[in-house]
Assembly symmetry: C2
Homo-oligomer: 129 residues x 2
DNA sequence: ATGTTATTGATAATTATTATCATTAAAGGT
DNA sequence: ACCTTTAATGATAATAATTATCAATAACAT
C-alpha cells in the first residue's frame, strides 16, 4: 500500500483541470472551498505536490515569483501578459529544433523543455497599452 | 533626482556578475558579505529587485521553487540538472522560429521568450545516474 | 560646502510553505 | 461486511522567504 485515492485529492485535481486560469495555490484553494468547505489549505498544498510528482498536473514557470499550476500536462507553452498578468496556453509551439541544437552543442541529456513568452495580450492591446 | 548609484548596489551587481552559478538571493547575500560584511540582507533584496527592473540582471525560471538570478542579461537559455540541481547557461539557442509560430497562431505581442531545459548534466551522467 | 531625499541597516511584519500530531478513512485481508 | 493497518486529513505550529517600517546615513544637484 503506497498511495491512496482520497476524495480531497480528486477534488483538487478536478478543480484545477476545470480552471483554465492557471491559478496559484491560494486561488486553487479558494476554488476548492466552493466544492467542499471542509478541506484544509495544507491538504491542497500536499495534494498539489503529489499531483506534480505523479505528472498529473504541472507547475507553470513565470517571472512573477508566485507558482502557478496547470491541470493540462500535455506539452505546451505559456504566455504571460505583462499588463493584466494573466497566463495563457500556447499549443503548437514545437521545440524539437531547440532540443536538437542543444544536443549538438552540449552533452546534456534533455528530458523536458519549458517555454514562456512575455508580452501584451490581445485584450490589453485593444485597451491601448 | 530619481535613482542613486550606491556602493552597495555596485557590489551586489559585481558579485552576481562574477558568480557563474546563478545564485539564489541567499547565496548572493553570502557572497556579498565576503566583500563587505556590513551590507544588510534587505539591501540585497532591494538592489536585486531594482537591477531586474533596470534590466541589468535577470531572473532565471526554474521548477525548484526558489528564484535564481543571472548577471548576464544577454539573451540565452538555461539548463537545470535534475540530479545535482545546478543551473547552466546555454548560448546559441535561437527562438526566432518559436516566436514566428506564436505570431502566426495568436494575436499576442511578444517581448520576451524564456527557455528552460531540464535533464542530466554531463558530470552526473558520468557518475552513472 | 549644504540641503534634499533616496538609500541603508536593523528589525518587525507579512506571506508562503512545510512540519507536527491526534484523528479519520482508504484499501487489503479475513 | 467487519477488522486491521496506516496513508491522508484538518488544525495549527514552525519555518522560510519576502516586504514594510523607520531613524540614520550618504549620494548628488545646486
Amino acid at each position: 500500500m503506497n498511495t491512496r485515492n482520497t476524495r480531497q485529492k480528486e477534488i483538487v485535481l478536478k478543480t484545477l483541470c476545470e480552471l483554465k486560469t492557471h491559478p496559484t495555490i491560494l486561488e486553487l484553494y479558494q476554488a476548492v472551498l466552493h466544492k467542499d468547505a471542509s478541506i484544509g489549505q495544507a491538504t491542497v498544498y500536499r495534494n498539489v505536490s503529489k499531483l506534480v510528482e505523479e505528472g498529473k498536473i504541472q507547475k507553470v514557470l513565470t517571472k512573477d515569483g508566485v507558482t502557478h499550476y496547470d491541470g493540462d500536462c500535455r506539452n505546451h507553452s505559456h504566455f504571460m501578459c505583462n499588463s493584466c498578468h494573466r497566463l495563457f496556453d500556447l499549443y503548437g509551439v514545437n521545440t524539437n529544433n531547440l532540443i536538437k541544437a542543444v544536443r549538438k552543442s552540449s552533452c546534456f541529456i534533455i528530458s523536458n523543455t519549458y517555454v514562456l513568452f512575455e508580452g501584451i495580450c490581445e485584450e490589453c492591446m485593444d485597451k491601448c497599452y
